[in-house]
Amino acid sequence: MKPLPEGKSLGWMQAPASWIDSHTVRFIGVVRVVIQDGEGFILIKKGKPLFYYFKQGTIELKGHTALDYFNSHPVIEFNLCKYTPDELAWAMKLCNIEDPDRVVPKKAVVTGPVYREHTPLSPPADPPVAKPAGEKRIPDPVVVSPPVPTVDKRAAVSGPVYREHTPLSRPANPPVAKPAGDTRIPDPVVVSPPVLTVEQRAAVSGPVSGEHNLSSRTAAPPVAKPAGDTRIPDPVMVSPPVPKVDKRAVVPQPVAGDDPEVTILSHIRDLDGIVAIAVFNDIRNVIMIGDADSEVLVKIARTMLETAKKITPLLTWGPFVHMTIQIPAGNMIIAPYYDNYLCLLTTRTINIGHIRRILRDLQQKAAPQRVS
């Protein structure tokens, strides 16, 4: 895999992989993921994951397999890097994927029968992608389907599906899953973001070899098909995740427009003197942005929180607003933040007055977005 464009870093964070899905509604760029010694990325266009990739040593995971691996960790470390349209286009070329928002005219389908049956659940924004008959040089996009035994034969019985020839989308990587020796069977075109199930995520416990994709390849998640209709081959997956299939849809719901947490926290992180920001609760570290060991940071923050929780009921002054501890190296601040707690690590250049102002600003900025 060739290196993707750098993009503009919005900062390192630590959060569950699912957080990325639900907080990137307007984000266009790449989420660079680091897990242990491995690195990977998720290419995202306005909340729609376009490509998942992870590499550790010689092991390469793509598509659903990579996503499953991300999801197998309660928290992953990642860097949100914003792309310009040009950078995104270049990254998509490097990943050998089509723009899901691009409408491909029907006449682009060159020859041969297309057995893809229109599924009512498929949004029209994601048209089928055509591949010229006999074109074997063009790799298929990464297979993102997890193994589902009941649908294993689908690819074998599917009719040819064509993919629009795109000279620039030549493969850097060979097709990952195609029955060996079977050249008649075109690779299923999969341009949709992966669909997850809890069981599948739980099954992944560590990076597995790329061959894992072989089983994933034919394991398309069930897509709508009239019951008992044997004439109609199984539809090719060209649509984004179907809500019915996946409760935890990869495409985030367009809830409140811009994500308040990323926007506000990134803004604060950019202030002079702020070293790191974490959002945590009693159970886990929800978000981490900045240059600090999140575990150590949150451990200290929890000690502070414990103190605050012990003191608050003893006093009749109401809930605690914030607590700051200053040591020679800097300041550590905790404050309630929605249902969680915010933890800031700052340099000594920031004094308590400044901290109070930041927290006030944060509450003011967060409030309207919360309401929306």
């Binding site: 200290i300 000690t303 103190t307 003191i311 002054w317 605690f320 700051t324 020679p328």
Partner: protein, 115 residues
Amino acid sequence: MLKKILNKFLILHDVRGVIVVRGDGGIVESIKSGMEYNDAFMAAVSTFMAGSKATADTFGNSPAFMVFMEFPDYFLLLAPLKEEFFLLVIAQNTANIGQINQEMKKNREDLVALL
């Protein structure tokens, strides 16, 4: 003599109490204005001291530390004097923190000399 110095803090705008407290939470000296030091409050002071110390210890080498805790109307400001002694200022949120810090700098040596 100690009370006389503590009074310099108490006369600052919206400062309601000043306490010299040991690292273990024990009270050495205290003065107040417009508030009560009841048992619950004293327990809170001890907890605050012990909790702050525990937090500072997690940074390693027991560094000198200052703790500020804010509530809707009041705040607590804990500042080190020497080794196991700290100064705790209780004030309303409208008090001037910079002024309190300035007074601490001016009087630290005198306070330490008396401990």
